[in-house]
């Protein structure tokens, strides 16, 4: 992604408002990774990476499972897609309500 795309992603997605978290998403969408393997990619503490993973998990963008002492994370493509459909729906909800009030008012002014 270009810097501009990165910047737009920052503005658009607070759930993905962090480059590390987007990077984690790219990796876990490609396949399951242990949290410690993910942490090795970044110049930050394991705990910091674990926090990023928790934010993504809470947003429903990835799922974690335990395998012995390891925590394995994988991206949920369906969830990412459903965020997209919610985006459309909620955008329409806000704009649509106001447009419908406008129409409703216009109808009785024609009467």
């Amino acid at each position: 992604m270009s810097t501009e795309d990165e910047d737009r992603a920052d503005a658009l997605f607070h759930a993905l408002a962090d480059r590390t978290r987007r990077d984690i998403m790219r990796r876990v969408l490609a396949g399951e990774h242990s949290v410690s393997a993910l942490a090795a990619n970044y110049d930050m503490s394991f705990a910091a990476v674990q926090k990023h993973v928790a934010v993504l998990e809470k947003a429903g963008l990835l799922t974690k499972r335990r395998n012995g002492r390891e925590q394995l994370a994988s991206g949920d493509v369906a969830a990412v897609r459903s965020v997209a459909s919610l985006l459309l729906e909620l955008e329409q909800v806000w704009r649509g309500r106001i447009a419908r009030i406008d129409e409703l008012i216009a109808i009785d002014q024609e009467d």
Binding site: M1, D5, R8, R22
Partner: protein, 161 residues
């Protein structure tokens, strides 16, 4: 489009939408005071709303559900906290189970709708404040403000990267 301004204040966890309507304040108020009108505007055409209870008084409750194309139902409620007819009203807006028991998993917002005479019509200000930054974030994440198609492009970029 009558929407004139959209603002978000992350620190105050507030979303403000301003719209101008070509009708007097009393007419815009009627949209909210009349459940049959409210249900015409509340749900999108693909998810029409049915208002069940409608008590637009302080302490009163408004409940509704929206019916999706598959017959799926999504319920919500307003707990009305203040009414100054026809100038403003305030309510807590939340999601509910189909028996209208509030769903605590989804964010509740405090809403204040204000209607003021403006340029021969009505300027409506819809303010929603979320109890937690997380709640606002959850709603912002879902794209209440940003353009949906641009956001979907971002997701596709993200998946393609």
């Amino acid at each position: 489009m009558p929407v004139t301004d959209v603002q978000r204040d992350l620190d105050a966890r507030t979303l403000t939408i301003v719209a101008d309507f070509a009708a007097p304040v009393e007419r815009v108020w009627q949209v909210y005071a009349d459940p049959r009108q409210l249900e015409k505007v509340w749900g999108p055409p693909t998810y029409p709303a049915t208002v069940v209870d409608h008590d637009l008084r302080p302490g009163g409750r408004v409940t509704y559900f929206m019916t999706g194309p598959e017959g799926d139902k999504h319920a919500g409620y307003w707990d009305v906290t203040a009414v100054d007819e026809p100038r403003s009203f305030a309510f807590d807006d939340g999601f509910a189970d189909l028996d209208f028991t509030p769903n605590p998993e989804l964010p509740v917002s405090k809403c204040v709708y204000t209607f003021a005479a403006h340029d021969g019509g009505t300027r409506a200000t819809f303010v929603s404040t979320y109890a937690s930054a997380e709640g606002l974030q959850q709603v912002l994440d879902m794209g209440v403000i940003e353009g949906a198609s641009a956001a979907i492009g971002q997701i596709d970029d993200l998946l393609a990267a």
